[in-house]
């Protein structure tokens, strides 16, 4: 302490500048986050205000009538559920298995790296290209015709990279020390995966599946040529039937049906988004349950 005793904690000028910068950075980051949320809030508000009045029990449980200018959306609703479920059944086992192989078994060599690169590239392919692939492969080559099966498989191929990448990341998030401790006890790779790695990666894997569900139910291009119908007043009876779908129905009534009432598309969009949110909420609840038992 020298003679010119400064008041305690007064700080230096540098200190003052640091605190100003700190305040500024915090404000800026907060603002960016707010900007991110804003569109979501606006969209949701708009949909609820404009589309809310259209929603009724009848709207959800009856088919469209009068050239799709009136009536409900039941076939599209059921069709989307069909498409999503079949796509999940096709892609989750393949995606998770591939991710487990890549993360736990594959040697780190050029081939593995090439496969990883290919997966990332697959994620970047535009959905309309997937649609054309789906037509070529599933509709024509495998002779599934335009059907739920063809459309769902197209969706599955499109979302596989998401499942693989998110599963792989969550497997890698399990500390390597756990694996080594297990191997040192004489456990095989699979014993280690089944008892230690997979249970602890589950919540991350579910996140990937949530993403897949959200994306699958909203996609339009890949199902347009492979299985989704313009208008079909019946419910699908099996995977080889064509079906209406929410996303395509929304596209059709906004662009192809000029005399549809203005509120109708908002209503359809609101139902579609609510569906996705409901599925997400369910998965998130399950994830929280799993994470509640998290082990480290």
């Amino acid at each position: 302490m020298t003679g010119t005793a400064a008041p305690l904690f007064a700080g230096t000028s540098l200190n003052a500048r640091d605190r100003k910068v700190e305040w500024l950075v915090r404000a800026l980051l907060g603002l960016m986050t707010a900007l991110l949320i804003l569109p979501v809030v606006i969209i949701m508000a708009l949909l609820v205000v404009e589309g809310g009045p259209v929603i009724s029990w009848e709207f959800l449980t009856s088919p469209p009538v009068d050239g799709m200018t009136a009536g409900g959306i039941l076939p599209a609703l059921v069709g989307t559920v069909w498409l999503v479920v079949v796509a999940l059944i096709a892609s989750v086992p393949v995606g998770v298995a591939a991710a487990v192989y890549l993360s736990e078994y594959a040697p780190d060599n050029w081939l593995t790296r090439a496969i990883n690169l290919a997966i990332i590239n697959l994620a970047g392919v535009p959905s309309i290209v997937h649609a054309l692939f789906g037509v070529g492969a599933f509709v024509l080559f495998f002779r599934f015709g335009t059907s739920i099966l063809a459309a769902s498989l197209t969706l599955a191929v499109m979302t596989l990279p998401v499942v693989i990448v998110s599963t792989r990341e969550s497997l890698q998030a399990v500390p390597r020390a756990f694996r080594e401790a297990c191997w040192n006890m004489g456990a095989t790779r699979w014993q280690t995966i089944r008892r230690i790695v997979l249970p602890n990666a589950l919540s991350g894997i579910l996140t990937g599946i949530i993403l897949e569900v959200s994306r699958t139910s909203g996609e339009t291009a890949p199902i347009m040529f492979t299985g989704a119908a313009f208008f079909l007043p019946f419910l699908p009876q099996g995977v080889l039937d064509q079906t209406m779908a929410m996303s395509l129905h929304l596209f059709v009534i906004t662009t192809q049906v000029p005399d549809a009432p203005e509120a109708l598309p908002f209503g359809v969009a609101l139902v579609l988004i609510s569906m996705v949110l409901a599925m997400n909420a369910l998965s998130i609840a399950f994830r929280m349950y799993v994470r509640g038992r998290k082990k480290w």
Binding site: D108, A177, W183, N184, M185, Q191, R195, K295, W296
Partner: protein, 267 residues
């Protein structure tokens, strides 16, 4: 096969009958860096072999080679010959059976993301023990021997990772014991453990050597002095010497560097 002893007529033949593990001309590299050079050493039955030496002397690499851990450590290359009960471990097809007979304890405790009970029951389960009563019995016995039972007997169902550092390390030891190993490898087990717990574990080790061979890698020269029957001194990848602990610590050494190290003059 146990007892499939095939002494290879090398320099270690004098040791071959009493030795659990015979290491000949072991060289370990990571890429082009040599961690251990030309090691000849044997581990006898029912002894504690202390391994001392400053950081980077190849002690941990030596332990890794005994358990064939090089197979999952990228870049680690092992040359030379290691026999376990007379069997060349490189030629053991069933590496899982080999590893299950070797317990390993690392410097930092690795509590698997399981309950206390399941941490200890895992190895028995892996080797096919299904009966609940049998598992209960194994878990209690191993926890008792690791001097942990009294502290955790009421919380066997809580997560192992919620225990304190010292408790977790004893849990790791209990887990290693649950393998019913013939060989226990300890790599600086006391680094994250308080002195009182360290003393308790040391007492346990003295008991355990009647049933198995123990390799104790340690930075604490005095710990080797307290526990080890024989002590090996490694220095920057070179095996300087191995001798009876009592001899080394009474100053009877083949190489003056050993004396310098245990006297704390370098390293």
């Amino acid at each position: 096969m146990v007892g499939d002893v095939a002494p290879n007529g090398g320099g270690a033949s004098a040791d071959a009958l009493s030795a659990k593990v015979v290491v000949q001309n072991l060289t370990i590299r990571y890429g082009n860096q040599v961690a251990l050079r030309g090691l000849d050493l044997s581990i006898r039955r029912n002894e504690i072999l202390g391994v001392i030496g400053p950081a980077g002397s190849g002690k941990t690499s030596f332990l890794r080679a005994l358990n064939r851990m090089d197979e999952f450590i990228p870049g680690m290359e092992v040359e030379g010959r290691i026999t376990f009960d007379g069997r060349d471990i490189r030629r053991v097809r069933n590496v899982y059976a080999l590893r299950s007979r070797i317990g390993v304890v690392f410097p930092l405790p690795v509590g698997l993301p399981l309950t206390v009970y399941e941490n200890v029951a895992l190895a028995p389960r892996l080797r096919g023990v299904r009966k609940g009563s049998e598992l209960d019995e194994i878990v209690e016995r191993c926890l008792r021997r690791a001097a942990l039972w009294e502290e955790v007997k009421d919380r066997l169902d809580s997560l192992g990772s919620l225990l304190s550092g010292g408790q977790q390390q004893r849990l790791t030891i209990a887990r290693a014991l649950s393998q019913e190993p013939d060989l226990l490898l300890l790599d600086e087990f006391s680094i994250a453990v308080d002195p009182v717990t360290t003393m308790r574990i040391e007492e346990v080790l003295k008991e355990l050597k009647h049933e198995m061979s123990i390799v104790l890698v340690t930075n604490l020269v005095q710990q080797a002095r307290r526990l080890a029957d024989r002590t090996a001194f490694f220095l920057t990848g070179e095996h300087v010497e191995t001798s009876d602990t009592a001899r080394i610590f009474s100053g009877i050494v083949k190489d003056p560097r050993t004396h310098d190290y245990i006297e704390g003059r370098f390293g």
